[in-house]
């Protein structure tokens, strides 16, 4: 691919007149391109692009659950239970028997509704996944807290009574 150069025999002026030989400034870039693309290929294969989008979520933790809960007014409490097959259920106040089925899309409207109708001081969301729930469910609900800017929420272990009610509700909704 080297350039075909005119080897300056074109203009012979005479024995005494020397023509200044023009040196070509062109360099064969082909190997450089090869090398460049080899490196690009290497970087594409050896690296990951998903890293910048990997983000972390800071989760506040409660140590003294009883104390935390006793501060909550029943009127402002919104409890979310999570069960198997991505099931999500909620109740307001203390009446776990009034459990209502929902899903991960509708629960947002319920949270917004409750947030609007409650004194911000009293509003607290209690999150109780049972043993059938998975990690995605947990993160999804924690994410809802961020999305809806719920200031107070707690991830709490489910009580046996609530678990029973949850199981009954699941059975009533046809989830085996």
């Amino acid at each position: 691919m080297a350039q075909i150069e005119d080897s300056g025999d074109g203009g012979k002026k005479g024995p005494g007149v020397k023509k200044a030989k023009r040196q070509s400034t062109l360099v064969d870039m082909t190997p450089m391109v090869d090398l460049g693309f080899l490196l690009i290929t290497f970087f594409i294969f050896s690296t990951t692009m998903s890293q910048p989008t990997t983000m972390s979520l800071i989760m506040p933790k409660d140590t003294e659950k009883e104390e935390e809960q006793s501060k909550v007014k029943a009127s402002g409490a919104f409890t979310i239970l999570m069960g198997k097959d991505d099931g999500v259920y909620f109740y307001e106040g203390e009446e776990a028997s009034e459990l209502q089925a929902s899903d991960y899309k509708k629960i947002r409207d319920e949270i917004i509704r409750k947030k609007k109708s409650t004194d911000p001081k009293d509003f607290v969301v209690v999150i109780k996944p049972n043993d059938e729930a998975n990690y995605r469910n947990m993160v999804a609900i924690l994410d809802e807290m961020t999305i809806n800017e719920v200031k107070k929420f707690a991830l709490v272990n489910i009580s046996p009574q609530e678990n029973e009610i949850l199981k009954t509700t699941e059975a009533a909704n046809g989830i085996q």
Binding site: M1, A2, Q3, I4, G10, G11, L26, D28, M29, T30, M32, V33, G36, F37, L39, I40, F43, I44, S46, T47, T48, M49, S50, Q51, P52, T53, T54, M55, S56, L57, I58, M59, P60, K61, D62, T63, M82, R108, I112, P129, N130, D131, E132, A133, N134, Y135, R136, N137, M138, V139, A140, L142, D143, T146, I147, N148, E149, L155, N157
Partner: protein, 216 residues
């Protein structure tokens, strides 16, 4: 010149300069924008969230939980790994030899009970990749052996702000997560970072409005 006509030969030369410019631009972009794939013990599909906090690089203690509930620990800093190996060797009376401690220093992730610890360290890094690690036992809310890992990690990083990271799979059952969290809580650690994939806040929500307001 002398006026005689010459046969003009077409040059086959192609100017590669622009090509080189582009290829090196792309190369620079890839070098700067990407990171090397971390050495991962298991494939984990972590969930997405709207949280936009950055993934901390330094002083990180990562607990990975795969979809079957196997628990792995990873530490980024080889020096910290060395210290924790020495600590564990003492507190769990594993009586690790200097060679084993050196092997652990070069092992980014561990997912075996303490009883299998020595035999895992006896393997070469290549063998370690291939072997099926059963995971660190976290059987109940006492935190199992993970409790001791965290406790010794805590003393290893004493005085520093440690990033306690949890990476779990979408399909990981909640009880495993709960036990992992308990293991942290028993060590008086209440602030974790869950590794998630970033997604935008849904339009119209409170967070979306706040972020819109913030960028104006």
């Amino acid at each position: 010149m002398s006026g005689r006509s010459r046969v003009t030969r077409k040059s086959t030369w192609v100017d590669m300069t622009a090509f080189v410019d582009v290829s090196f631009l792309i190369l620079t972009f890839f070098i700067l924008a990407t990171k090397f794939k971390p050495d991962e013990p298991v494939e984990v599909q972590f969930p997405s969230s709207v949280s936009a906090d950055e993934f901390p690089e330094m002083d990180a203690f990562l607990v990975t939980v795969d979809k079957d509930g196997r628990v792995f620990v990873q530490m980024d800093d080889p020096k910290a790994r060395q210290t924790i190996a020495e600590n564990l060797s003492e507190t769990r009376s594993l009586s690790l030899t200097p060679q084993e401690i050196a092997a652990f220093t070069n092992a980014p992730s561990i997912g075996v009970p303490f009883s299998n610890f020595k035999s895992l360290l006896a393997l070469t890094p290549e063998q370690r990749q291939a072997v099926h690690q059963p995971g660190i036992p976290v059987p109940d809310s006492t935190g199992g052996e993970l409790y001791f890992w965290i406790r010794d990690a805590k003393s290893t990083y004493a005085g520093k702000k440690v990033n306690w990271l949890i990476k779990a799979d979408n399909e990981t059952k909640y009880p495993v997560i709960k036990n992992v969290l308990e293991a942290f809580k028993r060590n008086d650690i209440n602030k974790f970072q869950l590794i998630t994939k970033y997604q935008d806040a849904p339009v119209g929500t409170a967070l979306w409005q706040t972020r819109q307001g913030g960028t104006k």
